[in-house]
Symmetry: C2
Subunit: 256 residues, 2 copies
DNA sequence: CGCTGCTTTGAACAACTTCAACTTCTGTGG
DNA sequence: CCACAGAAGTTGAAGTTGTTCAAAGCAGCG
């Protein structure tokens, strides 16, 4: 707050970067709204001090006050089953919005936790809503973002409902690869900020299964694994695996 | 269109019922907006001739022109896997909105098909969007509805990722029961408009598994099954089954 | 009446999980 | 800087849950 013109470019801590100069604005809220409207959006957005690994962004049960956009780093969101087990709902990369699912009843049903050092833009929801009331492009972009999340949730439901462990993991790797390259990072070599446990949890598999799959994928020449570092060697092959339950023959040739 | 005051109550075919007098308006779009604003909403909503069993409301690939609200009957939405298998995304009961996932890129990625004779309100999306720009309560309600869908998708991801077949089916039955009673129907006795195949598909199980579960649930006194007709005899018990993976002992006692 | 499509039931099989042991990594304190 | 404890990851073998395959039962319909 109390923004001066300079503070809209870079503040003293190097964090106060305006939406206009943020490399992520094509993925994030400002997309498709006019530069002068972007200024107005800028004035409601707060930049916070970065989160460290395992810090909470919000807890399940908190009332919704703000939406959050990841600027750098990554966040996992998860809810708890009746027995207190975590179920990871999603991993959030730079440019992605969190908290949309809390609008319905004004409270978070998931917890959000940093997987690594992560910086965040905080967007007070009431302010955002009134701004969206005045800026048609912003309302539209909010609808689009929520719709996109619905779409990807639906895709994921398909993965969980119909896909084998191999298909799930290849889907996951492809999704990361795509998202990283959209954000200007390498899509063929990246670090997994989440543990094997988190991956397994997210994909509805056992850790051991994921571990075995990584070695199998590596032996098949699809990827190169070095602890958290993943290099994708054969995206074609991964894509085939991700989609195709058909040619069982091919799969067994490739993977054993 | 060309609505006269009378046509807002009941038209000649008995279909042209205004939102104000629709028993579903508490679940549907109009919720929380003022009566005079409701009139404006009314003028953009079109009532269509009912769909019959297996009729399509829209196909995957169609461009988004309208959102749809179910007035009576039921609709299933599904997408296709790479190999052309159906994956059912959801079942839609009266008062529920369809098509929100198409806003993102203006095209449907699912097909929507009537499970029985079904009447529908059609809401041209562009009109709705401009109206939401003028009526804050409507914008808010749209955000809320989309958020609610995100929330329930997340819950379903948890079901698919962590739950056994028993837990999945009991969750499903409870969800139907709850939704029916919210809509003023009986929550303890209802007809399944979808086939066993559809249920199995939706829950990520084989038909045979679902069939076996129905008989097991019946033998355990939880429900009474008569073809499509379901009577819930022990909601407590179902609830326990739906949540609890803990007490394996109890389960085996109840269900074998 | 005899289809056809949906549902149910049984038995064999496969995929993934669980359990258990071992290895590798990480970070903390001496 | 090393040693050590705990966490995270890998690997093998046994066990389960749910699938697949096959066949029979049932309702609806021309």
């Amino acid at each position: 707050m109390s923004e001066t013109p300079e503070s809209k470019v870079i503040d003293l801590k190097g964090l106060q970067i305006a939406c206009q100069s943020c490399g992520l604005h094509e993925l994030c809220l400002p997309m498709g709204i006019h530069p002068d409207e972007m200024d107005r959006l800028d004035t409601i957005i707060k930049r916070r001090r970065p989160l460290h690994r395992n810090d909470f962004l919000y807890h399940s049960g908190d009332t919704l006050t703000s939406l959050y956009a990841v600027r750098s780093g990554s966040i996992k969101t998860y809810s708890l089953t009746g027995e207190g087990e975590e179920q990871i709902i999603g991993f959030h990369l730079p440019g992605e919005l969190l908290g949309l699912d809390a609008i319905h009843d004004g409270g978070h049903h998931c917890s959000a936790r940093a997987l690594e050092t992560t910086s965040i833009c905080e967007i007070p929801f009431e302010d955002l809503e009134s701004l969206a009331q005045e800026i048609p492009g912003l309302q539209h972009q909010l609808f689009r973002l929520m719709s996109k999340e619905l779409q990807s949730d639906e895709h994921f439901m398909l993965v969980l409902g119909k896909k084998t462990s191999e298909e799930r993991l290849s889907n996951f790797l492809i999704s990361l690869s795509t998202r990283f390259s959209q954000r200007g990072f390498s899509g063929t070599e990246f670090n997994l900020s989440m543990s094997r446990n988190d991956i397994a949890n997210y994909l509805g598999l056992a850790v051991e299964t994921v571990s075995r799959l990584f070695t199998r994928f590596q032996n098949a020449g699809l990827i190169q694994v070095n602890r958290k570092l993943i290099a994708i060697k054969n995206l074609e092959g991964l894509n085939e695996l991700a989609g195709a339950k058909c040619k069982k023959v091919d799969k067994s040739i490739v993977l054993r």
